[in-house]
Each structure stands twice: as structure tokens, then as C-alpha cells.
Point group: D2
Chain length 335, copies 4
């Protein structure tokens, strides 16, 4: 059932061999939940990675990571500003409404599914400060964005500054954080800036079933752990999730995998730059392609999602073969 | 960090080799979420197992399985009758309150953490049928019970009959369902009776991160799938969870593992029957042991939980070595 | 502190003398909650009014009425389609998120804060039928709309037809239902069509603290009564609320009051038709007026809300004096 | 339909004439919600009453007052310790689960529906401080208790001390606070001690539809106002609720009414002290009476609730006639 030339998504790619190894090495431990040595190591490892003290806990999905993070920043009667095409708005089945007990997503527009301080202010400033209107409590941005664009450090800082000025928290959905960080030069902090909470994605980057939720206010960890348990997300064999996350950090596997995926995406994008909807800044390529052109590609064995009536999305993963990317590029160029 | 003679719990035991194999075999597929062939196979396999049509979906924890199941049976303004020592009441961090949007657990007493129709009626019947009092919507029982007792088919049927008579749904927490089924002779339906929903435990029985939620009204599956997504429990590489569950059913591994654990528990129990708080009907042994006696056992290298001031709980797992069980039995007999 | 020439809103107008009388007449009864004779009368009275069997219960606010109604039509994981300027979206402090346990409001555009089947279809049809996207469960429309426009029977029927075709419930926010009904000729059913639930507003129409939630599927009443209690909305002296609602129906006081308010609004509107943003079809008037013109009116003692930078909203109430409306009309005409 | 000799409850008694007057005097104001002068006066009046700064807001029911108060003290993943017969547990239809988003009521035992520090410690201390168990966040006590017993100041202080030591908030359900305060000598602070939040009951004491929620940490008021709106409890003609509460305080009407009810209850209790289940310390009388005796009383025209198989509850209200109380006392004495 697996595709020969798959550019559908990175979300079903196989598990990286080093992740398998790390999981199997965790077999012998026998401390349940997150009491094991691996889980206990996460805080220190992420504090090292980001160069400031933080807490990190594993969860099984990006949706859970995003929602547990947001729940530290937004009360049930508040709102979270996000892009109108953000994953939390369009692809998480209403999970924020569940985890945040009915808090509201407040939808802003922005080019390439990125937000600017102006986009946010345009949404937030007209809201009257009274009990009749839901007040914004937090902002959520996605790194890389839903169109594969990476926020530069200065862009994040500008949003963070706005957030602080308005008393809002800021969460970063980092389902493809590694791809953004790799694109931006490989320093984690450059891709994260000083957000309050970050879902550090591993699954789309060669992991199996573990993301890390990073809390830059470590005191929130106690609260989040209660909420993780309450959401049925505290696995008793959590060491297998910790092992995945740690293996991702070991020897910068997270960057290595992301670079491979980004390179494949860049290869595809460079083959037909005029068709690009957005520059390729991570591992996703959005191209203008007519229905007939898409059909022609599919006839050649390529698999991908249509993106509206006139475009397609190609996603490269850690295991995308260079020759497949080259072949796709050539096929597009030859249309 | 792993114990030499561990009888603490079955919840952190290593993953069974056949489960590992099945997971790795799932690597090549590339359909995300539960669209893969393995996930799609679950309904048929469980329908076979129980001899009636049902739907089955994977989730990562027993807490999620219990709560998603209960949410099909109890509305937010209703209540779920359970034993006062039930896992959903004392060990799930309030997850039922979260998943059921504030529904209430209604606590009944019962010997050995089992409930009888009389126990339930004693709780339910005095409730006035008016809006001032939370009305019961469902019953939850645990198979095997929190004291390792297995409900006999006739006992389940009697409760089910009461449930139907009162218009209540019935959920079975089967975190150790395999152990009960093995004890009762190995037929799944004998251990499940005709409950409405069942969390079919795999993790304590050699799995890593997958339980099956079995819905005996298959029409509920659509609803549950929305709720699973909304709770952040729809993993994109769900095939690795499906693989675990299917491997557990292949060649009756679920029973084989449970029998091994039950046998070890029986061995321990038989060594000092007079000390037993309850008969050993699964893989847990509750024994009256003074503090001094427990200390003496620990000095000999045995690891276990105290159970109140005068007792201890020993749990055997699929990988408990026969000689360890024998040794523990002898040590207890020799006190 | 009360205005001399108040056109701010109808929501703080004094209580009509007949409502006071009815409340005081309820003093002698002594049955608590909704067991009293007045509360028990509501179902029959509203069934008469609408010419089909329905249940009706009192609640203290329109927000509660709307949310309790919607909760019968939309599950926690679903969505409610409404206009982007609907009261439930912009003025109820997130109450739908609370009462519906995190369900989502799905915002449609539409002229004059009214929705058409096309507006709704444009929003609903692109939603993929999978668990990643919140599915619509219900539609909410407002009669009269937030811009004082009244849906004609055929318009409601068209939306209802769409709703049935898509399996959606339909709720009508009738905070100013009386004004719409009066405008449309005085027949309740012409203004309500065949919606599933209706909040029948009394408070803006001369009541004190009671709206009626009308359930055209009377079987939902039992559910709603549990939810009303659970939301802290079951008042023990509910007879005083029932009395208000019944007095509103007696002798068609609801229409009489609405006609008075509508007439005053029509008077104002007719004074400067070229300035009208929308035709006057209830008791609200939206007029294009510059900041300087608004200031000039305020200097003459008129009180009203600015509506954006270039307009004003005037609301007439049951007690608006004809001479005040005439005076305002003249003042506007004379600008 | 009204009883001749009603001792069923105080919750359906007529509205006191002074309350009617105050409401009607509020007719002329026209500021909606709680922006009116009366609503704005509440903070100062209650700060005076309790001799320390506090905020006070009106709500329509005791259930809403209790739940909004508790929501300031307990997060969704926490628990509220209360008596197993507390109103919030047995008579509010699960409202705490709704308002607190699934938080748990943790049930303690205690004589006469009162709690002592020992009762609370016995429940709270065995709870392990880990994420598997719901942690207590707050304590709720009822003044006067569900059996009409009044906590003495020293008793409240002892509980408050325990609460502070364990980091728990403390709420007082004061549905019959006035009756307790009257019994205790008439000083509000003696009956409230230093709890964090108090629902100050008016409705059972001659009001119509307003209780005051008193927040002794005034900074919580902003939060509570958002939550009140979100729960559909912000009435647009809130001035009529404020008027009720203020009239209750004017000239100590709250104490006057409570003293009348208490005196009637005392009269009944003194007639047959040997039958009393509890001393009469407010306006409720619980008496041991056989079914035959109860029947005999009913034959004489008295109305009341059975309390289990062998007792009855009589409640006096502000308007209970002295001769009715005397008559009931005589009737009981004569059995």
C-alpha cells in the first residue's frame, strides 16, 4: 500500500533507525510513567539546546502538545489569536476547544500563513475591554508555517514584543520546527526566539509517537503534568517516548533529518521557481499546477495533495530519496 | 535502575518480542492516522474474537480508552456508577471529569473492588428523578478488579440486566482483561459478557503504547473517532499502534502472556494462602504482611508496593520469571 | 443617571406595568422551581402561539436561552454556523464555548447580518468530512438580525430546507423576535418558520428577567431542564419569571410593545431615508452620520451608540415616547 | 395552590414588601448590565458589612454564586472538599462539574453536615501528591449547615487555618447565612470568619432572584465577571438584582427576616426537644417522627418534607406566622 514516489506528507514516514535503536534500548528499564531516567533527562537536554532553563515533557501527538501548551497561556474564558489557516484551527478537530474548556480561537489573516504584529494588532485592537467580548490571552504561531515559511528571529521577536506589550502569552506550534531551524542555520534559539511554550516536533521528522512540549517557564511543568494525565496522555511506558525525543537530539539527528527533507524540497522547488506560490523555506513545496498537469504527474507515479483548484503541495520527509526529488523536479520542469 | 526481583507492577514491563516485530513490520506502510491496512483490520478481528459485530479503535492509554468509552454512555450532566476504589476514580487524575465534561463518578462499595447488582441498586435507587440530583447514565466495572478478582459471566450478566432495566450503559475497564479471560478459561466473551464498551488492555500485557477500545455498538465508532481526534489521541503513525494490538491477538499472544503472569501470581499465592486478602484470580496477589515482614522481604531483594499498613501487593507480568515467583513464595512462606 | 432622550438600547428600559402586576400576583404561590402553576402553563401557551406542539421554559437571559437551545442541536465536538456579527459570536463573552463544551462557532458572512442558504453553503460545503475538521451540527440565525432586518418566512424556510438537507439543526436567536413578528404582520409562526429552537425575547420588550426558550421538539425539554439546573439557571422562585412571560403573551402585550418600538424606529428612519444603512424592519435604526453630526445630535440631548466611524445606531424601546422619536427624526433631518 | 401551614421550605416564600419597593424604585435607571449605580454600590456596602475590603456581585441563584466562587479557588484538574450531604454535592444537579470544568467534589463526613479540621484532614491527608490522584484545591462549608447548624467563629477559624496550611482556598455556601448570623448574634464577620468567597443568600430570606457573591480577594472580581457573563448570568437589567441585595442590607432587613424565621423554628423545636435530631441553630428543624405521626400532622394541615423513614424537616421562613409555629409545636407535642 506504500507509494513509490511519495510526496503526500512527512507525517507517515517510517521511523528512523536510530529512533528504533533508542526505543529498544529502553526496554530494560522498569520505572513507569515519567519516573524513568530518560524522561528525567529531558529538562536538562532542552535547557542546553535552547540556552535557557526550561522544562520539557513528552506527549504522543502535536495536537496534545499544542493544546497543553496553550492551556498554560489561556484561560477558559479567553482567546488564542492564530492564523486562519493554522493547524490548531483547521486540522485538530476542535482540540483547542476541548483542552482549553471552550476558549476561542481568534482568526487573523497573514501572508503565507504567517502572522505579523500588524496582522495581530488589527484583530486584537478593536476588541472592547469588557465582559461581552472574549479577550485575547495568547498568540499561536507556527514554525515553519502551514505554507512552509520560516519565521526569522526578528519576526518572532517583533511578535513577542507585541505579545508582552498586550499581556499575551505566545505559543509556537513546531510540528516542523526542525525544518525551520535547519533552514535558519541550525540554532534552536534562532528558530524559537523567546516564546513561552513550544511544541517541538519529532514525529514528522523520523520519530514514531513522541513530541516534546517545551515550557520556558519551568514552573508550568507541574500544572502541565496534571493536565497531561487528565487528558489520558501519561503513558505508563513513557520511557519509549523519552527515548525517541532524546535520540532525536543526540548528534543533532533532528537537524540532520530536517536538512535531508529540506534539501529534497529545495531540489523540487528549484526545478520550477516560477510556479512556486511561496519560497521554499522548509520541507514543503506549494506549486501552481493545473489539473491536467497534476494528472500528468500522477501518471508518472508521483503522489501528492491538490491544494485548491490550481496548485499542489509536495512534502519531503527525512527519508525522501534524492533521486525521487530530482525526478519530480524534472517531471514538473518538463510539463 | 531495573529491579532484580520486581513485583511492583506490570505496567512498566518490557515490550514483548513479537510486539516489537510487528511494529517494525509496520514501518513500510505510509498511510497516516488510521487509514492504514492494520488499523482497518481491527473491527473484523475483534468481531471475530467476541463473536459479535463490534468496532475497535486504538488509543495510547487505558485512561483514554476508558474515558472515550464512557463518553459514549454518559452525557455531561449524568453520572457513572463505579466502585469507590476503581481506577477511573482514584488513579486517572480526574480524566473522566475532563472527557465527560464534568459528569460525575458515583461511588459504590463492593467486596474486592467488585460490584454486584445490589451494590449498584443501593447507590442508584435512592436518587430522586429530578434535575437537582445528578442521574446515573452508566455503570463501569473493572475486569479483573482492582484486587485481582475476575467477574464470572453470570455476575456480569446480572449487572448488565440491571443496567438495561434502569436504562444505564455499561463499560468494562479491561486494563487486565486478558488476565481475567485467561483465568476464566480463555474465551473473550466469557470475560466480557454483553457490556457496551470495553477497554481491551494490551500495555500491561506486553504491549508498548496501544490499548483497544471495543464498541459493541459499532455505530458509536464515528462519534468516538471525532472525540479521539479532539483529545489529541489520533496519532499520525497509528499503524504502529494497530500493529501492537493485532500482534497481541495473533496466535492468542494476549492469552499466552496473561497465563504466564497469572501462573506466577498463583505460585506466589499458593505459598501462603492464609495470608491472602483475596483469592488469586488474575496476576495480582494481595497479602497480609506486617511491616517487619515486608522489610524482611525487601532485604531479600523483592520489590513491591505496601497496601495500607498491614498488607502488600505483588504483581506478576508476562515476563516474570518462574523462579522469581517461586523464590518469592518461599520467602513469604518462610517468614 | 437616566437619559432624557435615550436611544442607546432597549435592553435597560423599565419593566412594563403589566409585567409588574403579573409578578406581584405570583407572590402568593409557594411551589418552588418550575413546579408552580404558571411555569406549568408555558408549554400550552406557546403551543397555541405557534400552532404546533412545543415545550417552553423560562431562563433569565438571552445568552442562556441561546446556549441551552444550541446545546440540544450541537455536540461538543461539532460546530454552529452563525453570522460573523451574530450576538452569540461577538457579545456573549464566549458563552457558547462554555455551554457547548468547546464546540466551535463557524462564521459566515451575509448582508445586514442575515444569512442566506448560499452564505451557509459557501462556509459548510468546503469542510472535509473527516475527523480533522470540526463538522457543522447546527445553524443559528437572529430574528430580527443584528442590523434590525427581519427574515421573511420564505427566507427562513429556505435556510431550514438547507439545514434539513445537511442534517443540521437550526436555532433562532429571538432577542427581538417580537419586533420582527410585529413587522411581519403579527403572526408568530411567520417570524419563526420551522426552526428547532427559539429564544423568545421578553426582556428587551418590557420584561425584567425572563426569556422563553421554545423547543419545537418537546422531548428535548427534559434534557434542557437538567442543563438549565446545571448551569445555575433554575431559580427557586421561578414563578416570577413564568409570570413575566405569560403576561407578555396575555392580550398580545408582546406585539403591542414591539409595535410601539417599531413605530418609533420607523419614525426616525423616515426622517432621513437616504442616510439609512439598512431598511428599518424592527426597532433599530442604523444611519450614516459623521462624527460632527453625531456630536451635534448629542448636543441636543440625544443618546445613542456610534457604529464604526461613520454611523450611529438608534434603538427604540416599548416606552420610547413618540415625541422623542419625532424630535430625533427632525434633528437628523435638520443636520 | 399555596399551603395554609407551610413548613416545606423557605425557598418559595413570597418576596418581602421592602424588596418589592426597592425593585420598583430601580425602574427609572437605564444603565444596562452592572453599570448602574446600584450595582456599583455593592462593593462598598459589603466591605462595610464585613469590615474588610471585598468585592460583591449579584447573581440569580445560589448555585451560580457557589460555583462562580469555587471557580476562583479550584482549577479544572483539582478538587473541592465538601460534606457528603452538601448542597453542591446533592442538590445542584452537577453544576460544580460544569462551572469548574470537571473538577471533582471530594466528600467528607461530619456530624450534622458540618466539617471539622479532622474530618477534612482524614480525607485530604491520604491523597498522594502525584498526578494520578486529583489534588484538593479548596474546601466548601455551608453556613448554616444542611441540618441547620451554625458554625461558630472558632470552628471556621480552625478550618481556615487548616486550609491555609494546606494551600487550600475556602468557600462558604451561605444560602442561609443570614439565619446563622442572626443565631450567632448578628455580626456578619462572626458568621463568615475569613473565608475567601461567600455566597450571601437573599432569596430564601425574602428576596426574589438575587444572591450576592462576596469575594474577599477583590482582585478576583474581574475574573468572576467574565465567568458570570460566560455562564449567561449577566442580566441586562441587573439593577433589579442589585436593588434586592441592597434592600436586604438596608436597616439590617437581612437580620430582621432571619430572626423571624429563626424564632419560628425555635418555637417548633422547643415544643418537643427530645425529638430533635440536632439543636435548632437557624430556621430548620429536624425531628424524629414516625410515619404515623407525620401522617397525623399532615391531617392537621401541616406541610413538610419527610427526612428518611423516621424523621421530618420543618423550615420556617421570614413570613412564617408565629401562630402557625406555635400550632405546629403544639401538634407535635400532642402526638
Amino acid at each position: 500500500m506504500n507509494s513509490q514516489k511519495p510526496f503526500l506528507s512527512d507525517n507517515a514516514a517510517p521511523v528512523h533507525p536510530k529512533i528504533w535503536e533508542a526505543m529498544q534500548a529502553a526496554d530494560s528499564a522498569d520505572i513507569p510513567y515519567d519516573g524513568d531516567a530518560l524522561s528525567q533527562e529531558l529538562d536538562a537536554r532542552f535547557s542546553d539546546l535552547f540556552g535557557r532553563e526550561c522544562a520539557a515533557i513528552w506527549v504522543a501527538t502535536g495536537t496534545a502538545a499544542n493544546c497543553l501548551g496553550l492551556a498554560t497561556l489561556c484561560q477558559p474564558h479567553g482567546g488564542v489569536v492564530c492564523h486562519e489557516e493554522a493547524h490548531i484551527e483547521v486540522d485538530e478537530g476542535g482540540a483547542p476547544g476541548f483542552f482549553l474548556h471552550g476558549a476561542k480561537l481568534m482568526l487573523a489573516s497573514g501572508e503565507g500563513a504567517k502572522l505579523t504584529p500588524d496582522d495581530i494588532a488589527a484583530l486584537v485592537d478593536p476588541i472592547r475591554d469588557d465582559v461581552h467580548q472574549v479577550q485575547p490571552h495568547a498568540i499561536a504561531i507556527t514554525q515553519a508555517s502551514e505554507y512552509g515559511l520560516s519565521y526569522r528571529r526578528a519576526e518572532i521577536d517583533a511578535i513577542t514584543e507585541l505579545a508582552k506589550a498586550r499581556g499575551l502569552g505566545i505559543h509556537m506550534d513546531g510540528a516542523r520546527f526542525a525544518n525551520a531551524a535547519a533552514f535558519l542555520g541550525g540554532k534552536a534559539v534562532e528558530a524559537a526566539g523567546h516564546v513561552d511554550t513550544l511544541s517541538f516536533g519529532c514525529i514528522k521528522n523520523g520519530g514514531m509517537s513522541a513530541e516534546a512540549l517545551v515550557l520556558f517557564d519551568p514552573e508550568q511543568a507541574a500544572l502541565v503534568k496534571y493536565r497531561r494525565k487528565r487528558a489520558g496522555h501519561l503513558q505508563c511506558k513513557g520511557r519509549y517516548l523519552a527515548a525517541q525525543v532524546l535520540a532525536m537530539l543526540d548528534g543533532d539527528l533532528w537537524l540532520e533529518n530536517a536538512r535531508a527533507a529540506n534539501a529534497a524540497a529545495a531540489e523540487i522547488g528549484s526545478a520550477a521557481e516560477a510556479r512556486l506560490m511561496y519560497p521554499v523555506e522548509a520541507n514543503e513545496v506549494f506549486m501552481r499546477l493545473s489539473a491536467a498537469e497534476r494528472e500528468a504527474l500522477r501518471q508518472q507515479g508521483f503522489d501528492f495533495y491538490d491544494w485548491g483548484a490550481d496548485a499542489a503541495r509536495f512534502v519531503a520527509a527525512w527519508n525522501t530519496k534524492a533521486e525521487d526529488a530530482v525526478a519530480l523536479g524534472k517531471a514538473i520542469a518538463g510539463l
